[in-house]
Symmetry: C2
Subunit: 262 residues, 2 copies
């Protein structure tokens, strides 16, 4: 089954959850797709000043952001992955997967970046893959890109596509995701944000460049550094089943863990 995959590049206004959710869903409504990927913390913005602020903006997996996204997914008969600050006793930097029937799964960011350590508890659910009608989708968030173990774990669990909500500030990730795809022969969809958040003396600029990359490392589409927008592509995720780089090389089978002991 062909997947129409959409990555949504946003520029949220910090703290304006209702506005941010509405803007994103309007953009998505204009562009039919089977799976939409939204950025990390797409509803709140990123640059929290303190824990009080995070607590105020965090939501449960059945909060108002979920309700709006779930309504969209039901109406459009689609799937959506979105990043949000998850309130669950502790607060996590999470991504939820929502389908036409509602909540389907959760990933909690394992590798926190910079000041996120002040606001979030590191993820405790491992890296998870969900079997969807169009293929197997694995979740990771933003800075997880720098740990090859993240994408590798998802590939070993059978992911065809790595869905990757992000708020990138370092320049490396868009090119590094090409390596992640080549080394695992998977698709990847990075949904990043654009814009700037200068709050509490911390000035952050986000690099955009949301992209979809193929198992052969082709950048199938990449958005700009500054634009809000949406990119949709038709993909056959089962291309990622073919791990044979040559007649003698099966990429994942040929791993030699016994040689990797440090």
């Amino acid at each position: 089954m062909q997947l129409r995959l959409a990555i949504v590049q946003t520029n949220p206004v910090f703290g304006e959850v209702e506005l941010n959710v509405r803007s994103a869903l309007n953009l998505m409504r204009s562009t039919p797709a089977d799976l939409y990927v939204l950025p990390e913390l797409f509803n709140t913005g990123y640059n929290f000043i303190d824990g009080v602020e995070v607590s105020r903006l965090a939501e449960s997996t059945s909060g108002p952001t979920f309700q709006s996204v779930a309504e969209f997914a039901r109406d459009q008969a689609c799937h959506v992955v979105y990043g949000f600050a998850e309130s669950a006793g502790r607060i996590y930097n999470s991504a939820a997967l929502v389908g036409p029937g509602g909540f389907m799964g959760l990933y909690r960011k394992v590798h926190l970046f910079d000041r996120e350590h002040l606001f979030f508890t590191p993820g405790d659910l491992g890296f998870r893959v969900f079997n969807l009608p169009f293929g197997n989708v694995g979740l990771m968030i933003c800075f997880d890109w720098i740990y090859p173990e993240a994408a590798r774990t998802l590939a070993l669990k059978g992911a065809h596509l790595i869905v990757h909500p992000s708020n990138l500030v370092l320049p490396y990730c868009p090119d590094a995701m090409v390596t992640r795809c080549v080394e695992n022969r998977v698709f990847a969809a990075t949904a990043d944000r654009v814009g700037r958040e200068d709050r509490g003396g911390v000035d952050l600029r986000f690099i955009g460049k949301s992209e979809i990359v193929s198992p052969r490392g082709e950048i199938l589409g990449r958005l700009g550094a500054d634009e809000v927008g949406i990119l949709v592509m038709g993909l056959d995720l089962h291309e990622a089943d073919f791990k044979k780089l040559t007649g003698y090389n099966d990429l994942l089978v040929d791993r030699r863990p016994e040689q990797y002991s440090a």
Copy 2:
């Protein structure tokens, strides 16, 4: 201690071991350095037709190629890493480290590429790091680049510099090594070959682009796709000691292996 690191990009004539060794050493003699990196199988060429041919061209770690390189290393008071077909009961695609005092260590290619599976036994020594006067040097060969576990294992064992003799035919490696350096905050030196070997119905073209990359992913120098040549750079390998990407992120310490179980 500042390291003068040289990568040597060659175009060996298949089977002409004496000529190939002499050409490479002449090039090296013209350019003083502390550590020279030669390509994979630099003395024999790459595109073997059958096992008989490999057996004929393979050498022990004290064979004629070693003798010539060791003489050079003694005379120039330098270190050299070179790739060769190693005869040791079985035949390995190996790299030897030679210093002013002679043989210092060996790596046997763990991840064989394509028809190499017909000619070589997969490496059985793991990934090894050698403590040299200018820093810790880890060895991997060519296709090992596609397995993030290779560079990661070397980084976890303390490598400042990954030395990477290669005979690249796929296009991905030069950019992928940038990711390897960024994700491990290490230097890397890939010594590739150029030219074409059309033998026994198998036509291979080598991509050149030998390069030195910094722990911040900067391509400090990259040779062309067709030229024979040598690139020398002055490096302080201890830059690779600093794994703190931010005040809250220590790249290797922050790995979370318990979250990576597949």
